[in-house]
């Protein structure tokens, strides 16, 4: 048997657990050790990545979901940390009537991604105190920190996640207002998140698309009125600066 054929047989054994594939590996007790190592490592990786989801579902339900995922999605990435990339969509399919389940999974996953996202220095609020700090506010674009991710939510999964993370009794799942999202980013080295309403999400999306401050105020004015738009945009920028969410303005 060629090396390539043996390695494909070995892969088939690990993925399927079928005796026919193990026969090509010489039989004996060894193949079972590798099969156990393979599945144990993947379950452990998912449990590490999706800690709050596991607490919410309970060990038995989480391990059942993990086992089905392992059967359906053999790992392809070279880092075990990436194995859970599709787990949120997978549990969404398993828990169609419980949308907080997939949202908990998504928070677990996204917080993990933010934890190792590219480093950047947050713009300090006092950096904009100088009137000349921004050459032209009309065209100035707000550049959020590279770690910032916006995650739309339909449930109070964020409150459930926080309670589980701190060992408190989580609230029952319930729906939140349409258009709500979580902003997840890193303050220094620590991931944080909070809710944002539809206006804040709009401003972030427009900024990401390259709209300057004046254009943002103009677009906000369409729904809030001119005065409220300028106030809202200024308040949001001030809050983002205070929260370490802005990398640059200009």
């Amino acid at each position: 048997m060629s090396l390539l054929a043996m390695q494909r047989d070995f892969r088939d054994w690990l993925v399927t657990g079928e005796d026919a594939a193990a026969a090509g590996l010489g039989g004996g007790n060894g193949p079972a050790v590798y099969q156990n190592n393979y599945r144990t490592a993947l379950v452990s990786s998912l449990a590490e990545t999706f800690q709050r989801l596991a607490l919410w579902l309970g060990d038995a339900a989480f391990e059942a979901a993990a086992a089905r995922y392992i059967d359906a999605r053999p790992p392809s990435s070279w880092t075990l940390d990436a194995y859970g990339e599709d787990f949120t969509a997978f549990v969404d399919g398993l828990y169609r009537d419980d949308p907080e389940v997939a949202e908990l999974a998504s928070i677990d996953w996204t917080v993990g991604q933010v934890f190792v996202s590219p480093d950047a220095e947050a713009l300090r609020p006092e950096a904009l105190a100088d009137p000349g700090a921004v050459a032209d506010w009309e065209t100035a674009v707000i550049h959020p920190m590279p770690s910032l991710l916006v995650m739309p939510i339909k449930t109070n999964a964020d409150a459930i996640w926080q309670a589980l993370a701190t060992g408190e009794t989580p609230p029952p799942a319930e729906a939140v207002e349409d258009g709500t999202a979580l902003l997840i980013w890193r303050q220094g080295l620590e991931p944080v998140f909070r809710r944002a309403d539809v206006h804040e999400c709009d401003v972030l999306a427009w900024s990401a698309a390259g709209d300057g401050f004046a254009a943002i105020c103009e677009r906000l004015a369409a729904t809030l009125g001119e005065d409220a738009a300028v106030t809202t945009a200024g308040t949001l920028l001030g809050r983002w600066l205070a929260e370490g969410m802005v990398a640059a303005v200009g």
Partner: protein, 277 residues
């Protein structure tokens, strides 16, 4: 500046991060799993950079897959090179095994048949990895639970591999013991067949007795039979940078340092015996 690895070290594990950041852990070097730090940024890299400021570093990979019949991954090599450039480690190592084929990654160190075909594949892949990184690598002898029919023993394979590629060996003494017990060969024959001048680092670890086989778990103290084999290895190899791998059931740092003192004592004794001889 890339340093030379020497002395006695430990795998840097999360419960002990503070001692490495502070520089208070009484070790000469640290080793980390490369893939855990092949990431864009954040706290893990920050922690390793701080620890790196205090200790010489060995990067130890688990996913290079040097035995893959379909070659190495460009993206993996690029990410490893990036980490090497940042950390300037004294040693970059991986395992004589395969983990990936056709886009499937097992995340386990799978055994190779010790055939001429496998030797050609491994040597070709090592040449490519060493070229990509611009440096010599060390490769660790695996513990295994399957022994394929092959034309040569594992130690013969390792000797040919080092001769053909110029790579070095990371000699895992626990793995020799585990495989010797599982496959019924004499560990002394294994040591006698290893080109000791190529050994750049030694690993020590513990294992457990499974239902049928010894299992390399890294969750136990180094047992007496592995200490005995370490004594035999250092008698042949001389002073080689040595470390203890403990990945699960991790005790207090003091306990690991006490184990490391045993390694220091054995190495000093065999050095004395070599001088006396």
């Amino acid at each position: 500046m890339t340093e030379h690895l020497s002395g006695f070290g430990l795998g840097m594990r999360r419960p002990h991060y503070r001692s490495y950041i502070d520089g208070t852990a009484p070790v000469d070097f640290i080793e980390v799993i490369s893939e855990n730090f092949m990431i864009p940024g954040g706290k893990p890299l920050d922690t390793l950079l701080k620890a790196r400021g205090n200790y010489s570093l060995a990067l130890h990979g688990v996913s290079l897959s040097i035995g893959s019949a379909d070659g190495l991954r460009d993206d993996y090599l690029a990410e490893l090179k990036r980490l090497v450039d940042i950390m300037e480690p004294a040693v970059v190592s991986d395992h004589l095994c395969w983990t990936r084929i056709d886009g499937f990654n097992s995340h386990d160190l799978l055994p190779l048949p010790y055939t001429e075909e496998a030797l050609d594949v491994v040597c070709r892949n090592i040449d490519r990895a060493q070229d990509a990184l611009g440096r010599r690598m060390l490769f660790e002898n695996p513990s295994s639970y399957i022994l394929f029919p092959g034309a040569m023993t594992e130690w013969e394979f390792l000797a040919d591999m080092t001769r053909r590629t110029g790579c070095g060996l990371l000699l895992d003494v626990n793995n020799i013991h585990v495989s010797a017990m599982n496959h019924g060969f004499a560990a002394a024959n294994y040591l006698a067949g290893i080109p000791m001048d190529t050994v750049g680092q030694i690993h020590l670890a513990g294992h457990v007795q499974g239902e049928h086989l010894l299992i390399d778990t890294h969750d136990q103290p180094v047992p007496p039979e592995v200490w005995a084999l370490y004594r035999a290895a250092t008698a042949l190899a001389g002073a080689v940078p040595t470390m203890i791998e403990r990945d699960d059931n991790i005790p207090e740092l003091d306990e690991l340092c006490a184990e490391l003192d045993v390694a220091r004592a054995i190495s000093a004794e065999t050095a004395g015996e070599r001088i006396a001889a």
